[in-house]
């Protein structure tokens, strides 16, 4: 199952929240989990081409993605993110 997600937001943190919120919706409403992502970020614009599979069973649902303690830190190995989900 292939899909493209596009968003524009105020900063990287908002783009991340928008993207992950879309995944929350896909899990809850469409019972889809996306497992492959091709991400393009240009300034405050995000485009993700992703492919997913149907979920067979769900034990814990994420209800919302929050900005609580949200931090995106560049490190030598890439970006390290701290993010809190409402479960």
């Amino acid at each position: 199952m292939k899909r493209t997600f596009e968003a524009e937001a105020t900063d990287a943190e908002s783009l991340l929240v928008a993207f992950l919120s879309e995944l929350v919706f896909a899990v809850e409403q469409e019972h889809l989990i996306f497992i492959e992502f091709h991400v393009q970020v240009e300034g405050i614009k995000l485009k993700v081409e992703m492919s997913g599979v149907p979920i067979l069973s769900l034990t814990k649902a994420i209800k919302a993605v929050t900005y609580h303690n949200l931090q995106i830190q560049p490190t030598a190995r890439g970006y390290e993110v701290e993010i809190v989900f409402d479960v």
């Binding site: 919706f25 814990k60 919302a64 900005y67 609580h68 479960v87």
Partner: protein
């Protein structure tokens, strides 16, 4: 890090963080708590969040914090903040993701002794008719146009469709319908999440519970509320499900840009807000009211389902089994109300997150039968422990924008609770204590263990000592249904 010495002790139950504590505070923070309860929450961020909340533009009076306070997203749970209408801000984070999470209490004349042989069957049927658990859909599924009617009408929709009585609506906060709901300001995503969830409990700390009225402390008020000692009662605790969560998500996201537009600087991104009279503020208020109405309809339908279970179990076996409404309250809500602040009557938006409205006697917003007593204030305890029915007082209007606590408040995180407590052992303990459990998930049960919460009796002692509520009755659980 805020310490005890940063606070002024006003009484053993009331503390204040002065406005001078931090330069960006616009008002002081008033905390209703004992020293013991305060010391319990020093480890989490709730006090810092209370100070952050005091930076919202347009605040009047004080930020008020209840004794069941704990850390939330941005705004602390157990918090109340009032902003001046119309140019003060409205903040989705100060209302919460689960908009109109609340509690409904129904009572009966079924005597506990007579009901005991039937409680297992009752628990099983309640579990069947009140769907709970992760990803579980509701008993009512609607298309989008019908959902929009639910969003505009709340409990009135339920009445029109045979799920309610007139008396139910009279004994629901706001008659079960907030005016000014605007489905056009709700995203398609939220509507998709909501349309199949009406009449479902959800998971987490949401539940349907059968209780016995164990003690009546104010017989006159208890009689007015319809509570009889030794008889069964039912509590329903849930909110606006995925619908409300999506509305809050959408507007926390949208307001990230709004704060820049209006030049508002805040110490926490979850506190984002917009002036009430701005297009953004009006849009959120319209969407928030739609979510509130969704939750009122949700609890009404669950009440109908609970009645169905009671009828099936008790009809023909016991007389007077019918469930009657005591009250339905919200504890995550934003309301436009009028309060006296420093001698002046002011129209304000009262944000309550993990705090319950507690209007006292003589309030015009209350049903006629509750004018003399003040409204019921429903305080569910943690699973397996007592719950309380209180009544609002005149003092609450003066001291806390007519607000009170909402429950026991967490002291242990979900992950810690799951590590330290075994769900199946907990279930056995509860059953040994005479509490029938129907739970969809053992880890989910462990997360809700009583040790993960404060002592509700101490929370209630605090609000009654501070005179913002008074005790009416204490309930003991007999059966718990949760996801």
């Amino acid at each position: 890090m805020i310490r005890l010495q940063d606070m002024k002790r006003i009484t053993p139950y009331e503390w204040e963080i002065p406005q001078s504590f931090r330069a960006d505070m616009r008002v002081p923070v008033r905390i209703f708590a004992t020293q013991k309860l305060l010391e319990q929450i020093m480890d989490d961020k709730s006090l810092e969040q209370a100070v952050n909340a005091a930076t919202l533009p347009g605040l009047v009076g004080t930020v008020v914090i209840m004794p069941d306070m704990h850390q939330g997203y941005g705004f602390p749970i157990g918090g109340v903040a009032a902003t001046k209408f119309p140019q003060g801000v409205v903040s989705p984070g100060a209302i919460g993701y689960d908009i109109n999470c609340g509690v409904r209490l129904l009572s009966s004349d079924i005597e506990c002794e007579a009901a005991l042989p039937h409680l297992d069957a009752l628990a099983t049927l309640l579990n069947k008719y009140c769907p709970s658990g992760v990803g579980v859909e509701g008993v009512v599924r609607v298309n989008i146009p019908e959902l929009e009617r639910v969003l505009r009408e709340g409990s009135c929709w339920a009445l029109k469709n045979g799920y309610a009585t007139e008396a139910d609506l009279v004994r629901t906060e706001e008659g079960g319908c907030l005016e000014g709901a605007n489905p056009a300001k709700v995203s398609d995503r939220a509507k998709q999440r909501g349309r199949q969830q009406i009449g479902s409990v959800g998971a987490g700390n949401h539940f349907v519970e059968v209780d016995v009225v164990e003690a009546v402390l104010d017989p006159e008020t208890a009689a007015v509320f319809g509570l009889r000692q030794g008889c069964l009662a039912v509590q329903i605790h849930c909110g606006s499900r995925g619908f409300g969560h999506q509305v809050c998500t959408d507007y926390v996201q949208e307001f990230q840009a709004a704060v820049r537009r209006y030049g508002i600087e805040l110490p926490d991104r979850e506190l984002v807000c917009a002036p009430m009279d701005s297009p953004e503020g009006q849009a959120y208020l319209g969407a928030m009211r739609a979510a509130a109405n969704f939750a009122f309809a949700n609890r009404q339908i669950l009440a109908h389902s609970a009645r169905r279970a009671f009828e099936e179990v008790f009809e023909g076996k016991l007389k007077g089994w019918e469930l009657r409404q005591v009250y339905d309250i919200a504890h995550n809500m934003g309301k436009i109300e009028t309060h006296e602040v420093e001698g002046k009557r002011l129209k304000v938006c009262v944000h309550r997150k993990g705090a319950t409205r507690a209007f006292g006697p003589g309030s015009p917003d209350l049903p006629p039968e509750y004018q003399s007593t003040g409204q019921p204030v429903l305080v569910p305890g943690s699973m397996g422990t007592a719950s309380w029915v209180l009544a609002g007082t005149e003092m609450s209007m003066a001291r806390s924008f007519g607000s009170c606590c909402h429950g026991a408040g967490r002291v242990m995180s979900r992950s810690k609770a799951k590590r330290e407590i075994r769900g199946d052992e907990l279930r056995r303990e509860l059953e040994r204590d005479g509490i029938r459990v129907r739970a969809g998930s053992m880890p989910g049960l462990a997360e809700e263990a009583p040790q993960a919460y404060k002592d509700v009796d101490e929370v209630v002692e605090t609000v009654t000592a501070a005179n913002i509520a008074r005790k009416v009755a204490r309930l003991r659980p007999l059966a718990v249904v949760k996801g």
